[in-house]
C-alpha cells in the first residue's frame, strides 16, 4: 500500500518498471489516495534483495521527480539556448532565394546599410 501524498503515481510507476526484469508487478488503486502494488518474484530472483531495493527505489524515484520538477524550466532554457545559437534546427525558408532589392552582394554578404 502506497500513500500518494508521499509518493506520486509517476514515481511509483517508474520505480515499479525497474523491477520488471526480476518481478511481476501489478499496480492498482483500491481507494482514493492509495495505490496498491503487488509484487511476485520471477524465477531466480533474490526475494530479500528485491524487497529492500523496492523501498529504496520508491524513495529514489520520488526524489528524481522532485529534481525534474524543480529544474524543468532551466532545463528548457538550456536546451533552447543550446540549439538556438547554432541554428542547428533551423529549416531554410521554402522556395528559391531571391534578392529583388539588392540587399546582398554576389557573395551573399549583406551590403552596408542592409538590415
Amino acid at each position: 500500500m502506497v500513500d500518494e501524498t508521499i509518493y506520486s503515481r509517476e514515481a511509483v510507476l517508474r520505480a515499479c518498471y525497474w523491477f520488471t526484469d526480476r518481478c511481476h508487478v501489478f499496480v492498482s488503486r483500491t481507494q482514493p489516495g492509495v495505490l496498491s502494488v503487488r509484487i511476485t518474484a520471477k524465477p531466480g530472483a533474490n526475494w530479500d534483495s528485491v524487497v529492500g531495493d523496492f523501498e529504496n527505489a520508491f524513495l529514489d524515484a520520488q526524489l528524481r521527480q522532485e529534481i525534474g520538477q524543480e529544474t524543468a524550466r532551466i532545463h528548457e532554457l538550456i536546451v533552447a539556448k543550446a540549439f538556438a545559437e547554432g541554428d542547428l534546427l533551423d529549416d531554410a525558408p521554402a522556395g528559391e532565394w531571391r534578392d529583388p532589392v539588392g540587399l546582398q552582394d554576389t557573395d551573399g554578404n549583406d551590403k552596408d546599410g542592409a538590415v
Binding site: I67, I74, K81
Partner: protein, 396 residues
C-alpha cells in the same frame, strides 16, 4: 568591537540560497552513488548525497558543495555565465545531431554462403529475384539518402553477404558519388563482407573507388569456425587469407575486422586478442552480443548472462592494457567509446549508445526489398518474424 575575523560560515551561502540544476543519480553500491549533470559531468559521492542536495541539507562551506557547484549540479550567487556554459556543453554533447542521419546502410542481398549460428538474417538460397535488392530500389534508397541534411554521409553495404550482389554495388557506387558531388557532400563508403568470395577484380575495384572493407574475425580458428559455418568448414582460413589479399591491394589501414562474441568466446578473451595482434590489427571491439534475432532463439547454443560477458571484458581489457605496456599498439573500441563519453565533452558516432537514441536520427537501413528501418535491429526483428510466418529457417 572585535578585531577577529568573521567565522567562515558568515561568508558562505545560506543553505536555502542555492538552486538546483538538472541532474540524475543512481546508486553504485551500498555506500556510494553517482550523480551526473545535464552536461555530462559526474561526481561519485556517499549514498544520500543527492537527497541532501535536494533537501538543502548541504554544508555550503564544504568541498562537496564547491565540487557540486563547479560541476553544475547547483548554482548560487557566485556562479557566473551559467546558462551560456551549460548550453554550450549541452550542444557539444549533442553535436552528433548536426545534419541528422549520417549512416545509411544498404542491404544489397539477404543471400549468404555462410550459415553463422548467430546470424539474424541471411538465407542460403540461390533465389536472387526474391532476396536481392533491385536497381529501382537502390535508386529510391539513394534518393532518400541524399535528402539527409548531413554534410558528410557514410554508405555501408551489408547483407547477407553484399558481394553476392556485386553488380548492384558497382551500380550504386558511381551513382552515390555523382549525387554527393552534386549536393556538395562528402561521402565515405564501407562494405561489410565475410571476404570469402572476394576476387582481385573486386578488391581492385574497392581500391580504385576508395571503398573501405570491414570483415568478421571472431578469433583463432577454433573459435571462428565454431560459429561461422560455410561449405568446406574453412571460414577462418579463407578469411585470414583474404584479409592479407585485401591489405595488399587496398592498403593495411583500409581493412578492418569486427568480432562477434559467443559462448565459446567468453572463455577465451586472451586467445582472441592474441589473434588480432598476430594479424596486425590495431583495434578490437569486444562487444556484447545482440540479444535479438536467431541468437535469442538459439539461446541454448549462443546465449549468455551479462555477468559472464563482464568477466570476459574485464579479462580482455586488462590483457590489452598489459600488451600496451609491452609496446603493442592495440586499442579496445568499446572502452574508447565509453571513456570518450565519460571523460570528454564530446559525443561519439556509436549509434547504439546515443541520447536521444540513434535509431533513425543517426542511422537508417534500406532493406533489399525496399523497406526502410530506423535500425539494423529493427530489420533483424522483422526478418525473424517473416521467417517464422513463412516457416522458413535459414541454415537448412
Amino acid at each position: 568591537m572585535t578585531r577577529k575575523f568573521h567565522p567562515p560560515t558568515s561568508f558562505g551561502e545560506s543553505p536555502s540560497a542555492y538552486h538546483l540544476l538538472p541532474f540524475r543519480f543512481i546508486s553504485l553500491d551500498c555506500a556510494s552513488e553517482i550523480l551526473v549533470s545535464e552536461a555530462g559531468e559526474y561526481l561519485i559521492a556517499p549514498t544520500g548525497t543527492a537527497r541532501s542536495v535536494v533537501r538543502r541539507q548541504l554544508d555550503t562551506g564544504s568541498d562537496l558543495y564547491r565540487s557540486l557547484r563547479a560541476r553544475h549540479f547547483l548554482f548560487d550567487g557566485q556562479s557566473s555565465a551559467l546558462l551560456d556554459v551549460l548550453a554550450t556543453k549541452y550542444r557539444t554533447k549533442r553535436s552528433f545531431l548536426d545534419g541528422f542521419t549520417k549512416l545509411h546502410i544498404f542491404v544489397t542481398t539477404l543471400r549468404c554462403e555462410h550459415s553463422c549460428t548467430y546470424c539474424q538474417v541471411s538465407r542460403q538460397t540461390p533465389d536472387r529475384a526474391r532476396f536481392d535488392m533491385s536497381q529501382e530500389t537502390a535508386d529510391r534508397a539513394l534518393d532518400l539518402m541524399f535528402r539527409s541534411p548531413a554534410p558528410h554521409l557514410t554508405l555501408e553495404f551489408q547483407g547477407g553477404e553484399p558481394l553476392l550482389n556485386f553488380d548492384l554495388i558497382r551500380y550504386i557506387v558511381p551513382q552515390a558519388k555523382e549525387r554527393a558531388a552534386r549536393t556538395g557532400k562528402e561521402l565515405d563508403i564501407v562494405v561489410a563482407t565475410n571476404l570469402a568470395l572476394v576476387t582481385d577484380e573486386i578488391l581492385t575495384y574497392f581500391r580504385d573507388e576508395a571503398v573501405e572493407v570491414s570483415t568478421s574475425l571472431d578469433g583463432p580458428a577454433f573459435i571462428h569456425n565454431a560459429s561461422r559455418h560455410r561449405p568446406g568448414g574453412n571460414s577462418y582460413e579463407i578469411t585470414v587469407q583474404n584479409i592479407e589479399r585485401a591489405r595488399t591491394i587496398l592498403g593495411h589501414q583500409h581493412v578492418a575486422a569486427l568480432m562477434t562474441t559467443t559462448q565459446l568466446s567468453l572463455d577465451h578473451p586472451r586467445e582472441i586478442i592474441d589473434e588480432y595482434v598476430r594479424l596486425g590489427f590495431h583495434s578490437i571491439f569486444l562487444r556484447p552480443m545482440s540479444p535479438y534475432g536467431f541468437a535469442a532463439r538459439a539461446h541454448a547454443k549462443t546465449g549468455y548472462e551479462g555477468e559472464r560477458f563482464l568477466d570476459f571484458y574485464r579479462t580482455g581489457l586488462a590483457y590489452i592494457i598489459q600488451l600496451n605496456r609491452q609496446g603493442v599498439a592495440l586499442s579496445e573500441a568499446y572502452a574508447k567509446i565509453l571513456l570518450t563519453k565519460i571523460l570528454t565533452p564530446f559525443p561519439t558516432r556509436f549509434v547504439d549508445l546515443q541520447p536521444p537514441a540513434g535509431a533513425g536520427i543517426s542511422v537508417v537501413v534500406y532493406n533489399y526489398d525496399g523497406d526502410v528501418y530506423a535500425s539494423d535491429e529493427a530489420r533483424m526483428l522483422a526478418e525473424m518474424r517473416q521467417a517464422v510466418q513463412t516457416r522458413e529457417h535459414p541454415h537448412r
